[in-house]
């Protein structure tokens, strides 16, 4: 089987407008969660989130780009630009058909729908902008990236709620590994911080009004974020032959379905995805030194996730670190696994273990080393990224230092 290298990464998220900014913010344990700022926020009971502040599309896009792209697509395009320039690869015609894009997003251009439904239903307008469909479709970001970088191979998006990005990156990994393509742009993007977006989430009663504190006894729910993170996955020898810097190697991927409850997680489903990724990577469980947890900060997720990790790792559960960076950037829903992959790469590449911030008090049901509040410097061999979605869909990736 062919090996898969990560040769580029890029991001726009609440912690930073680039990978270096984001990784330093993680190393400093910064929290980017704050008061939400958008129309009608005063009618919400949840008024905090990880918003990308001061984002001005005019700085990045011409008139058509501003009119044609929803915010999630704009962020994905900017992140893809950083990732491709970091990878230092131009997609010429010879390799174009062997190159594609798979992105995760749960709700695509939800803000476009929100704004335009408001015009139709509240403002009673009978005509809305003709780009509502191309802006709001979930595949908009994947399509625009393929156009921007001349990628003519398999291009699509995956929508599996909070696991979308991990499923997308897993697909990209498998395509290169199996020989279907040689290079894939992958990751995810989400931006649903708007009145309708948050209102929908409020109804589930899983949102915290005051902060995201994963694994902490005082945790009281999740906090939503927005943004994008995009990676260049490349066939290992292809990357080596052009002397590209290899940031990390993707070694394993597995997915599972709880097939039980829409919102309540099941530790067995999570455990099957974790152990499946380890098996797929052909490694010993003891090689895993860091897990970027799904760690949403809800009572149910964090307890179940810790139980699943104990179940898979046995005694080694005490010998690994597991943090939730959602405490800093919030839950980016369909884009979350992608931003969290940045923390996994920083762990295996630089030994920077991102912390779980906002941690106040241990919870006996979450008694793992959750790297509370302060980042650590620690060499790790393999890192896992967990994602467990509503709908009971689990996706876990394993990466190793190059």
């Amino acid at each position: 089987m062919r090996r898969v290298a990560i040769t580029g990464q890029g991001t726009v998220n609440p912690l930073g407008r680039s990978v270096p900014e984001t990784v330093s913010a993680m190393a400093e344990g910064k929290c980017a969660i704050g008061a939400l700022d958008f129309p009608n926020v005063e009618r919400l009971s949840i008024r905090i989130g990880g918003q990308v502040r001061g984002f001005d599309p005019a700085e990045h896009f011409d008139r058509q780009g501003q009119v044609l792209h929803d915010r999630f697509t704009q962020m994905a395009l900017i992140a893809a630009e950083e990732a491709m320039s970091r990878a230092g690869v131009e997609i010429g015609d010879a390799m174009s058909e062997r190159t594609g894009v798979v992105l995760g997003t749960a709700c695509g251009g939800l803000q476009t729908l929100d704004e335009n439904y408001c015009l139709l239903y509240e403002k009673r307008k009978n005509r809305i902008h003709p780009f509502v469909v191309p802006r709001s479709m979930n595949n908009s970001a994947a399509s625009q990236i393929s156009m921007a970088h001349n990628m003519q191979g398999p291009t699509y998006c995956v929508a599996t709620a909070c696991a979308s990005s991990n499923h997308a990156m897993g697909q990209a990994f498998q395509m290169i590994r199996s020989g279907q393509t040689d290079l894939m742009v992958t990751g995810g993007a989400e931006s649903m911080l708007c009145f309708g977006g948050i209102k929908a989430w409020e109804g589930l009663r899983v949102m915290s009004p005051d902060g995201c504190r994963p694994f902490c006894a005082s945790r009281n729910g999740m906090v939503q974020g927005e943004g994008a993170a995009i990676f260049v996955f490349e066939e290992f020898e292809h990357a080596r032959s052009r002397n590209a810097e290899i940031l990390a190697e993707v070694v394993g991927f597995a997915m599972s379905s709880d097939a039980s409850d829409v919102v309540l997680p099941d530790e067995r489903g999570a455990a099957r995805a974790i152990s499946g990724a380890i098996r797929d990577a052909g490694i010993a469980a003891e090689e895993v030194g860091y897990i970027n947890a799904h760690g949403t900060g809800t009572r149910a997720n964090d307890r179940t996730e810790c139980a699943a990790v104990r179940k898979v790792f046995g005694a080694h559960a005490n010998g690994l670190m597991m943090s939730s960076t959602k405490s800093m950037h919030g839950h980016l829903i369909g884009g979350t696994g992608a931003v969290e992959m940045l923390a996994c790469i920083a762990a295996v590449r630089d030994g920077m273990i991102a912390p779980t911030v906002g941690y106040r008090k241990p919870d006996p049901e979450c008694d793992l080393d959750v790297v509370p509040n302060d980042a650590r410097q620690h060499r790790v061999g393999v890192a896992l990224s967990n994602a467990f979605a509503f709908g009971g869909l689990n996706a876990v990736l394993a990466i190793r230092g190059a």
Binding site: R63, Q64, V67, L68, N126, R127, H129, P130, F131
Partner: protein
């Protein structure tokens, strides 16, 4: 709402200039739409922007632009269509 022929013409020129990112001075009724950088998407935007500006419904059919009742050859042909629609009182909405 009523528009003078002159205001219809200058408004349409400024809409096209905005969409194609050109100086309005470089555009006239004689400008051909397929020569001023309007792609398939911007043509649909143009129809939308004109409908919004004059509160009219243009008989444009993207499936079959040539056979629709709207002549989209030039800026002038669109100006004429808007003038006809407005005199027919179609702009009452």
């Amino acid at each position: 709402m009523s528009f003078s022929a002159e205001s219809i013409r200058s408004r349409i020129i400024s809409i096209v200039a905005d969409l194609t990112m050109q100086d309005p001075e470089d555009l006239s009724a004689e400008s051909l739409l397929n020569e001023i950088g309007l792609d398939s998407l911007s043509l649909i935007e143009l129809v939308f922007a004109i409908e919004e500006a004059f509160e009219v419904q243009l008989p444009f059919d993207a499936n079959n632009p040539e056979d629709a009742d709207l002549d989209i050859t030039s800026i002038g042909s669109i100006m004429n269509a808007v003038e006809v629609l407005l005199t027919e009182g179609q702009g009452a909405g």
